[in-house]
């Protein structure tokens, strides 16, 4: 499956990009993360939540093909 991943805040610096398309044979967020970590191992040291579509999800959740966002702690306001 082809999944678009967006990196927000500090993570966009760690990954050195804002958005990237990944290919995965896996069906869950966990499996997608393995692919992402292979390319950007430093992301494993970062704290973040994951959103699929516009909803926060756990990493056991099934991939739907919607946008995946890696969200470090929010700092609006």
């Amino acid at each position: 499956m082809k999944v678009t991943v967006k990196f927000f805040g500090l993570l966009s610096e760690v990954a050195n990009c804002d958005e990237e398309v990944f290919m995965t044979d896996g069906h869950t967020v966990t499996e997608l993360l393995q692919v992402i970590y292979r390319k950007h191992p430093k992301l494993q040291l970062q704290q973040f939540q994951i959103a699929q579509g516009n909803k926060l999800v756990t990493d056991q959740i099934k991939l739907t093909g919607e946008l995946i966002a890696l969200l470090p702690p929010f700092s609006g306001g």
């Binding site: 967006k6 500090l10 516009n54 700092s75 609006g76 306001g77």
Partner: protein
């Protein structure tokens, strides 16, 4: 008054005093309102190890933030007796001294607005996927952390 459709909370750059005045003026036809409470977040020129913050650059997961704010707004209308509720947040660069967050609630009675405004601001800080990058005067930066 319930908002049914998802609104866009984002404005490009700083929120101006004139924008706020216009928003206040629009409420003068709503004569059941007795109390307004307005929260404004202003960018502080914080001193971090001798370097001064000159601006914050805001980015966001915009679509998700608008969805999250829609849910916060609906839940807040359920919780408090409010006539109106408006939320605006800056995107892009906001200089120190300028306003980046504008939250506005109105009710027939004052007790409701005090509770609602604090609830809303805390919810926005905790749940909206928005990021501030603090830019120092020497053009170095650090990612803002909310306390």
């Amino acid at each position: 008054m319930k908002s049914e459709k998802i609104k866009n909370i984002f404005v490009q750059g700083a929120i101006t005093p004139e924008f706020i005045a216009n928003s206040i003026a629009k409420h003068q036809v709503k004569t059941q309102i007795g109390a307004h409470d307005i929260f404004l977040g202003q960018v502080r020129a914080d001193n971090v190890d001798g370097k001064i913050v000159s601006a914050i650059e805001y980015t966001a997961h915009e679509e998700m933030a608008n969805q999250v704010l829609h849910e916060i707004r609906e839940a807040t209308f359920e919780k408090f007796n409010l006539t109106c509720m408006h939320i605006y947040h800056s995107l892009g660069s906001v200089a120190s001294g300028e306003i980046c967050l504008f939250v506005f609630v109105s009710s027939p009675r004052r007790k409701e607005v005090f509770q609602a405004i604090e609830h809303l601001v805390e919810e926005i800080k905790a749940k909206a996927p928005i990021y501030g990058k603090e830019i120092f005067e020497d053009e170095s930066h650090q990612w803002k952390l909310n306390s």
